[in-house]
Every structure is written in C-alpha cells, then in structure tokens.
C-alpha cells in the first residue's frame, strides 16, 4: 500500500518536473525543474530496489549533468535566465512524430512482455554483480565508450581553443 502511494507521488513529481522543464521560458527554472524530474526518477529506481542505479542517477544526472548545464548557462550572456525573446519552433509536427516513434520503440519490448514476469527475485542488481558484468563480458563496450568520451573531450578542448594563428606558436608559456 505504502509502495503504491510512494510510486504515485514519485511519478507525479517526475511528470510535473518534466512538464515544467519543457514549458518554462526561464532557462534556470527549466534546468532546476529537470533536476526535480531526475530526482523523481531516482526515487522510482529506489522503489524498484535498484539502489545502485538510483545513486548513479543522482550522481551523474543531478550532480554532473545538471551542474554542467548550469555551468554552460553561466558562460552565456543569458545568465539572468529570463528573456522576452520567443523561440519559434518550426517543424513541430515532425518533431512530434519522431518523439512518438522513439517512445514507441523504447516501449515496445516492455509491452510485448505484458504481464511483466515475476522477476523481482531473479535479477540481482547488486553492485558486485554489476562490477563483474562490466569488467567481464562488457569490458570491450566499456573501453569503447571511454575512448569515445576521451575523443569528445579532446574535440571540446580543440573547439574551445579555436584556430591558432601560426605566428603565435613560438611563444609557449
């Protein structure tokens, strides 16, 4: 019973957070609403006894992604948050189509398995098991992801530095 109440409360928080994040014109308000959505999602993971995923959800999405979003907004001139400019969205029809399609593709496997199997005991999302899985069968995937992220990082640094004039090259610090 209490789980039901918790589920509905957390879902309401998540959905409301997502809606506000999309609808708010003020950027900073939008980011914080997005963080509320992430927090609600983390609570839902906790309800599913996936405590590691819940912790990572907070650590990565709120602690890192959210802070980085704020960081990025801070570096722009719109740090005050509110501006009167209206963002006109063109092609909203195709956007809607793509969104529904992605949602359907993500939801399809779950619908096919209705009613859900009684798997609460079968899966063991313990940290140890996750670590073994990451280090043993999925180690190549992990390494590829790490390489991708490193490439992205180097690319970001290069993009941020801009093109250097050849003259300046002989003056290292």
């Amino acid at each position: 019973m209490s789980e039901q109440i918790a589920f509905w409360m957390l879902s309401a928080i998540a959905v409301l957070g997502a809606l506000v994040a999309v609808r708010k014109r003020n950027l900073i308000h939008g980011v914080f609403a997005l963080l509320v959505f992430f927090a609600g999602l983390s609570g839902l993971f906790l309800l599913l006894l996936a405590e590691f995923i819940a912790a990572v959800q907070i650590l990565v999405y709120i602690g890192a992604v959210g802070v980085l979003l704020l960081f990025a907004i801070m570096l722009t001139e719109r740090v005050a948050g509110d501006d009167g400019r209206r963002m006109t969205s063109r092609g909203s029809f195709w956007g809607l189509v793509v969104a529904v399609a992605v949602f359907a593709v993500l939801l399809l496997p779950a619908i096919q398995e209705l009613p859900p199997p009684e798997a609460a005991q079968a899966i063991d999302p313990s940290v140890k098991e996750l670590g073994h899985k990451l280090m043993n069968p999925y180690v190549v995937t992990l390494e590829v992801l790490a390489l991708l992220l490193t490439a992205a990082l180097i690319g970001a640094v290069t993009a941020a530095q801009g093109v250097r004039m050849p003259k300046e090259e002989n003056s290292p610090e």
Partner: protein
C-alpha cells in the same frame, strides 16, 4: 506502513538530527573561541546562564545567536526570484542532514532495529557522494536568485570549485573501496578494526587528498572562495538575512560533520579505538567494552578533524582562483590516479601473504608516492624571478 516500522525509523533518525544540531551549536562556539585565540583575542565570553552572572566561558553564545537570528527581519531584494530565494537555504540543509544517515554510527538503541539498517545500504558510499554534491546546487540557486552580481559570482565560483574537487575526492575514496571490496559503509569501518587505512602509505596519501578535497567541497578556508569577504562581500549569501542565513550556516556545519564522518569511516577506522575488539565469533559488529563506546570514538574522531579544519582556517590565507584550479587539476588529480595504481599493486602483493613482499611493497609505494608528490610540486612551481626595482635600489 506499520506503526512499528514508523517508530523504528523515528528512533533511528531523530537522535541523529538532535545530536548533530547540538554539536553544531557547540562547534560554532569552539570555532569562535579557537579563532580568537589564534588572533590574540578572547572571543565570546559573556553569555552563560541567563539571569545569573555565571558565564561558563561564553558557552551560551550559540543560543543567543540562534535567538537573534530567529527574530531578525527577513529581507528579500526586490529583483530577487522569490521562490528560489526561499528554497535555496532549505536545499542547502536537506542533503547535509540526509547523508548523516549513511554514517555507520552504531547507537546502542538502534542495534535492535534491523529493518532500519536499510540506511546502511550496499551503495552507501556512492549515495554519500551523490547527495553531498547537491549542496552546490543550493549555493548556485542562492547566488542566482539574489539577483546581485556578487552573489552570482559566489555561486559561479562554487560550481567551478565543486566540479574540480569532486574528482580527487571520489578517486581517493575509490582506494578504500578497492581494498575492502565493498561499498557498504559499515563493512568498510569493520574491515579496519585494529589497523586503520591511514596507517598504510596509499591510505595516508588518499586520506590527505580526501581531506583537502573535503575542505574545498564544504567551502572551508583556505578554499572559501564562494564567500570570500574581501572580494565579493559575502558571496552567495550576501542577500540573506535572519533565519535563512542561519540555515546556510547550519547546512555548512552539518556538511562539515558529514564529510568528516565519511573520512573517519573510510580512513580512520570508524568507531574503532581502545576498548573495541574484533568480533571473532560470528564476524558481526565489533564488540565494545560498554554500549555506545564506538559512537563516542566516532564523534571524537570527527571532532579531531573539525579541530584541524578550524586550525587551518586560522592559519592559512585564501587561495586565488587560478591557484585553486591548478591545485586540483595539476596536483591532486594526477596524484590520486597514481595512488589508485599503487593501491592496486599493493592489493595483489597482500594476497601473497608474505611479510617480506609486504615490507618491500610498503617501501616502494612510499617512495613512489613521495617522489610523485614532490615531482608534481616542482613541476607546478610558478616561474617567479626576484623582483627588479626600476626606480629604487
């Protein structure tokens, strides 16, 4: 939810809040007294028991401060974002209070409450880092909502500082997790009964890195740039007054307790100390000479760390922004990554269970870590020449 579970939860959590709030009041007094001594002053010495002339070294000062804060006017700037201005101090306090639950404090009255041990989650250490990170959001929120350029600068500094120092903080904690092979805070504390991690070369290096990064995470001096009063008035809480200000203050100190508690759990053996012996019968919790001894040891170690923090605040000047960033990225980060490698080798050496090899490992890892630290120090030394005087001799 059954009534029994509810009472269990209340028994486990309410004392935690009361104890740490009381300790907060005492710590403010201690800090003011200690700083006053360092600066050749007397510090608070008037307030004691009301309506008498007993002053008790000014121990009543925290109560007087609290009453003053409570009755002060709450001023909100006209341009401020009223909702965020109100939410920020609350958001500053809640994560700090929440992470106290993850500390492996074995109160005598919680031992019988097994369901409540759910707070000692398998991933307690990860949860701890995840939730302490939220504090930065509160700081940014306060700085942004005040609509004051100094506040905003303070908030921006806080975010930049946190992004940099979170990495060495977590990487130094990784070493302990590697050595124990568990993320459960209680298990980590139990594994150190008799021999704390700080007594190993890699543990010592990790502890020092952790402590410095913890200072930066809690915005303590010498890393208190977000509230640097000589540059940006009071930083992110410039526009706060009354009880909202007090909440920021409380949140900061509770965060100090929490991060010191984590340092004690990870490196200083948790509740271990004289009078606590390993439980060899069923591998359960360590046995203590009298109930509550582990809690007393735990809190005393926290206070030792807080005392060091106060001492550093009285001694060291504040860093510049570039020094702050350079220190995190060019010194602490390489050193903590190297330390993980050293700890990995040491773990494999310990598996061999050979005294000679262990001694060799210790010597080599000490040499490597010391050499790396001094090498990085040399590399990062600023290129400063003696000053040349143009118009003077």
């Amino acid at each position: 939810m059954s009534l029994e579970l509810l009472t269990d939860i209340l028994i486990a959590t309410v004392p935690l809040m009361l104890i740490f709030a009381t300790l907060f009041a005492f710590t403010t007094w201690l800090e003011r007294k200690a700083l006053a001594r360092i600066q050749n002053r007397i510090g608070p010495n008037k307030v004691g028991i009301p309506c008498t002339r007993i002053s008790l070294f000014g121990l009543g000062q925290p109560a007087a401060d609290g009453i003053k804060m409570l009755f002060k006017e709450d001023i909100v700037p006209r341009g401020a974002d009223r909702l965020f201005h109100l939410l920020a101090p609350i958001l500053a306090l809640i994560p700090a209070m929440l992470v106290l639950c993850f500390l492996p404090l074995e109160f005598p009255w919680t031992k019988s409450l097994l369901p409540v041990q759910a707070f000692l989650l398998d991933g307690a250490v990860i949860f701890f880092f995840a939730i302490t990170g939220l504090n930065t959001l509160a700081v940014f929120m306060a700085g942004w909502a005040s609509r004051n350029k100094y506040s905003l600068l303070g908030g921006m500094r806080a975010v930049a500082q946190m992004v940099s120092y979170e990495i060495p903080l977590v990487l130094s904690a990784v070493i302990v997790v590697m050595m124990v092979g568990n993320l459960n805070a209680a298990e980590i504390a139990k594994a150190q009964t008799g021999w704390w991690f700080v007594f190993t070369p890699w543990g010592l290096a990790a502890f020092i890195i952790f402590f410095i990064a913890a200072l930066a995470e809690t915005n303590r001096s010498p890393f208190d740039l977000p509230e640097a009063e000589s540059e940006i008035i009071a930083g992110y809480f410039t526009e706060y007054s009354g009880f909202k200000f007090a909440l920021f203050f409380l949140g900061e100190y509770i965060a100090m307790f929490a991060i010191s508690g984590l340092a004690v759990t990870l490196f200083l053996g948790g509740g271990d100390g004289p009078g606590v012996t390993m439980n060899l019968v069923d591998q359960g919790l360590p046995t203590e000479a009298f109930p509550g001894l582990t809690v007393i040891w735990f809190l005393m170690k926290i206070f030792a760390l807080i005392a060091v923090m106060i001492w550093l605040r009285g001694t060291l000047p504040r860093l510049r922004v570039d020094q702050l960033m350079g220190f995190a990225w060019k010194f602490m980060l390489p050193l903590s990554i190297l330390n993980i490698l050293v700890a990995g080798f040491a773990w494999h050496a310990e598996q061999l269970d050979n005294t000679f090899i262990t001694v060799i490992t210790w010597v080599i890892s000490l040499a490597v870590l010391y050499g790396a630290a001094s090498g990085l120090n040399q590399l990062n030394r600023p290129n400063v020449r003696p000053r040349e005087y143009k118009y003077a001799e």
